[in-house]
């Protein structure tokens, strides 16, 4: 097996992976950096983020306000030391991107413009129309091209971490073009592999978001933290699940039920604000968990709009006018016309909540270090706990920058302190990883199909671990996932070709998703309270006495994960009431 030696190797070349790579390249031009991704960097799902990135820059804003919005938005599940670090680094990272050429929208005087976003008390979201993630990703990718010591391995699918002497020293990856296994050896490894929203049937995520990075760390013994917190974005297209950015509401769009009534005022987010004059942190600018949950309740009450794609509510943008929609929300308009045949300039758009983001992930500290020495993680795959139980829109695009950068520097520090590894032990592990793939190739097709198992998984996730959960539903989903994980052992490939074998990759991705899905369901079953995005019909209140703690899921082979807990870090903000009632005071 060919071995590729690097000082630091990164899995994932989206926003977090690229940011880490650039930080490393700038720190030392002699460093050998391997940037490994199952797709070309520009295909990474960072590109699909629309609304923007939050960072304190304007005179009317303060670090404390961003801190309070984030911690309250997260229903006090955020680690406050991590949030403090995050908000202080945010403006620097956003300015750095500006220096690298990111085409942020501007004020008339040439300074960077900001827009309102859900759950934020002050306007602080930097944006590039409604393609902010796309521009951030391409700015990072293009910037990375000037560093000759960033060696990219595009379309390499990482499979297993190599752990010896109590530390992570590399991983194996399949070169998709040849089908050959490669061994990456490194002083430190960073996982920046993105989320796992594809475990649900209705989601905004790209096909690639299958939790491979999370699963790889999990199988190596690193706990997955707070996996039960899965964000539903309120405004997805009802047929494709395509994201319509929160900026639709930031710019003044409103949500209506079938009676054209702005129902959010009935769910603690009123009183009603004037149409087209959005007020911060209330009504349509409430946080995502609350807004999505309100839509669910409207549907239960029979006040939904009936559409061919199921029960929806309306998103009304018409009063913004064509000019503003074209300037601020051009992509939203394109998408609505393409996939729904509806022009939001002229008609209301039916929308429904859609799985969007995993607050949970690989447990890291504020240095982006995991519990396994030599392994670091950043971005959606990680849980450094700035998002708590509910992420505020426009915090994740900053998270990938702040903690991508941090992961790079921490990994460098670690790599420099380490001596060479044990060749024989690492080679043996790589050979084992290769043997597993070979066994999958040789297995005779049985009765289990990849697409069949995947459908059973996504169905049970929606039924039992969706936006509202019960003990009974979660029990059933946990049982079902156990069964699916066992049956996964019988999956075989129809495709026996080495070159670009997507049947093989689908099988591996399914394995990643099943492992992550079980961590979600079991963590959710054990959390007998309602907090942020985790809502239990049988335990409706937040219970700080028992559950102001992170859940930590530990991999346990074919058995369900062992769940442990870890205290939330509180520095200055004791748990309080989340107030989105705007002027009602």
């Amino acid at each position: 097996m060919e071995t590729i030696q690097a000082d630091v190797a990164i899995i994932g070349a989206g926003g977090a992976g690229l940011r880490a790579a650039i930080a490393l390249a700038q720190a030392d031009p002699k460093l050998r950096i391997a940037l490994v991704s199952k797709v070309y960097p520009m295909r990474s799902h960072t590109c699909a983020a629309e609304g923007g990135a939050a960072g304190v820059i304007k005179a009317d804003d303060s670090m404390k306000q961003h801190f309070d919005d984030t911690v309250g938005g997260g229903d006090w599940m955020c680690d406050q030391d991590a949030v403090e670090y995050f908000i202080h680094e945010a403006p620097k990272e956003l300015t750095q991107l500006e220096h690298w050429g990111c085409p942020w929208n501007r004020e008339a005087d040439g300074s960077v413009a900001v827009r309102p976003f859900g759950g934020m008390k002050i306007q602080r979201t930097w944006f590039a129309a409604d393609k902010s993630g796309f521009h951030i990703l391409h700015t990072l990718f293009q910037t990375s091209l000037q560093f000759p010591n960033i060696q990219r391995y595009d379309e390499f699918f990482a499979t297993d971490l190599l752990v010896d002497d109590g530390r992570c020293q590399g991983f194996t990856a399949i070169e998709m073009r040849s089908g050959q296994m490669r061994c990456f050896r490194a002083g430190a490894v960073i996982i920046a592999g993105g989320g796992a929203g594809r475990m649900f049937p209705f989601n905004t995520n790209g096909a690639i978001k299958t939790g491979d990075g999370m699963a790889m760390a999990y199988r190596a013994g690193v706990p997955l933290k707070d996996m039960e917190f899965v964000q539903y974005h309120p405004t997805g297209l009802p047929n494709t699940g395509t994201l319509l950015t929160e900026a639709c509401r930031g710019e003044g769009g409103v949500l209506l039920n079938k009676d054209n009534y702005r129902f959010l005022q009935d769910y603690g987010m009123g009183p009603e604000t004037p149409v087209g004059k959005p007020q911060l942190k209330t009504m349509e600018l409430g946080p995502r968990d609350r807004v999505s949950q309100s839509i669910w309740h409207e549907i239960q009450k029979g006040r939904a709009v009936k559409t061919p794609w199921g029960d929806c509510v309306w998103l009304d943008l018409r009063h913004l006018g064509e000019k503003k929609i074209n300037e601020r929300l051009p992509f939203v308009r394109d998408i609505c016309i393409s996939y729904l045949g509806i022009d939001p300039v002229k008609e209301m758009v039916p929308i429904r909540p859609v799985v969007h983001y995993m607050m949970g992930g690989i447990h890291t500290d504020t240095r982006a270090a995991t519990t396994l020495p030599g392994l670091f993680a950043a971005g959606e795959c990680a849980c450094v706990s700035i998002n708590g139980a509910n992420r505020l829109g426009s915090n994740s695009l900053v998270e990938i920058l702040v903690f991508g950068h941090r992961a790079g520097l921490s990994a460098l520090e670690h790599a420099r302190s380490m001596g060479p590894g044990n060749d024989a032990a690492l080679t043996a592990q790589a050979d084992d990883a290769q043997a597993k793939i070979r066994a999958l190739f040789l297995r005779k097709p049985g009765k289990e199909s990849i697409s069949g198992l995947r459908k059973e998984m996504t169905d049970t996730m929606e039924e039992g671990a969706g936006i509202y959960r019960t003990q009974e539903g979660l029990d059933k989903t946990c049982d079902k996932l156990s069964d699916l994980r066992r049956r996964y052992g019988d999956v075989a490939l129809n495709d026996k070709t080495n070159v670009y074998n997507t049947d093989l990759l689908s099988a591996l991705e399914l394995g990643s998703m099943l492992d992550c899905a079980e961590a979600v369901a079991v963590s959710g079953r054990e959390r007998k309270e309602s907090r942020g995005a985790h809502q239990r019909i049988d335990f409706t209140a937040r219970d700080d006495d028992k559950y102001l703690r992170h859940s930590m899921a530990y991999y346990n082979g074919l058995l369900p994960p062992r769940i442990d807990y870890r205290d939330v870090v509180i520095t200055t903000s004791p748990p309080g009431v989340r107030d989105y009632s705007g002027a009602k005071k």
């Binding site: 050429g101 293009q142 790209g206 670009y500």
Partner: protein, 252 residues
């Protein structure tokens, strides 16, 4: 909301297949795929892969016209499969990998040449005036942003290369997307790297290879209009040439 969107129809897909380990040359394979009327071609391919033939290889991810993965020839035209709506097609739909690129397998093209060309044009900000983070952001007015914004919209889907007759004939041509990207940075008020980039793009492999057919702009799913970028670079480099040869005392 018209009701027939959710209706179904049988769609005949003719898909180019090529397995480099077993096939001498590519050949078409016909599939009948039960499709929902409002689907796009990508949905039909996904149905096919999940239910009819899991060995079909193609790239896709976002299904929202921004990741640039699913570029392919659909009835002979370069398209994003997630933007090619079935409602716009009648009869057999023929799906092939992007023209002008080697086939890796089935609908997957080899992208090496494109990736190398992107890198060659130095598509990153080479600051005119250096600033530190403590200095804060560069000022850039909305009008200055507008000068390059269109050219920053490229999703690297490679459709313009598949449409470009020059690239088909002369593979060394740097091509529409890469030149547009160079132009994007050249037009950015923060940038001072134009001279470095001109060395790559104002050459016989660069803009002078282009015969201004305009096919690149026609197929661009993001309205980047590479043809206009190429023309602007040609004009600018002509001016450079005159300044250099006849008016060398004038500062560029």
């Amino acid at each position: 909301m018209t009701e027939n969107r959710m209706g179904t129809r049988q769609v005949e897909l003719e898909v180019l297949r090529y397995n480099p380990e077993t096939d001498q040359e590519p050949k078409f394979q016909r599939f009948t795929v039960p499709c929902v009327n409002e689907w796009c071609v990508l949905d039909a391919l996904n149905y096919l892969k999940d239910n009819l033939d899991s060995t079909l290889s193609y790239r896709w991810s976002c299904h929202m016209q921004v990741c640039g993965s699913c570029g392919m020839m659909i009835n002979g035209e370069p398209k994003l499969a997630c933007k090619a709506m079935l409602r716009d097609y009648a009869g057999v739909i023929r799906v092939e990998p992007l023209s002008h690129f080697p086939i890796e397998r089935d609908l997957v093209s080899v992208a090496d040449d494109f990736m190398a060309k992107l890198k060659r044009v130095k598509p990153y900000l080479i600051p005119g005036e250096k600033r530190t983070l403590a200095d804060g952001e560069y000022k850039q007015t909305p009008a200055q942003l507008e000068r390059y914004k269109k050219y920053a919209m490229c999703i690297n889907c490679m459709l313009c290369y598949a449409a470009c007759p020059e690239y088909g004939l002369t593979p060394k041509f740097i091509g529409p997307a890469a030149i547009s990207l160079a132009h994007r940075y050249n037009q950015d008020s923060r940038d001072g790297g134009r001279d470095e980039r001109q060395e790559e793009i104002a050459t016989s492999e660069g803009v002078w290879e282009c015969t201004f057919v305009g096919a690149c702009s026609d197929v661009c799913p993001k309205h980047v209009d590479p043809a206009s970028a190429l023309q602007q670079v040609k004009v600018a480099s002509t001016v450079d040439w005159y300044l250099e040869h006849f008016m060398s005392w004038v500062k560029k």
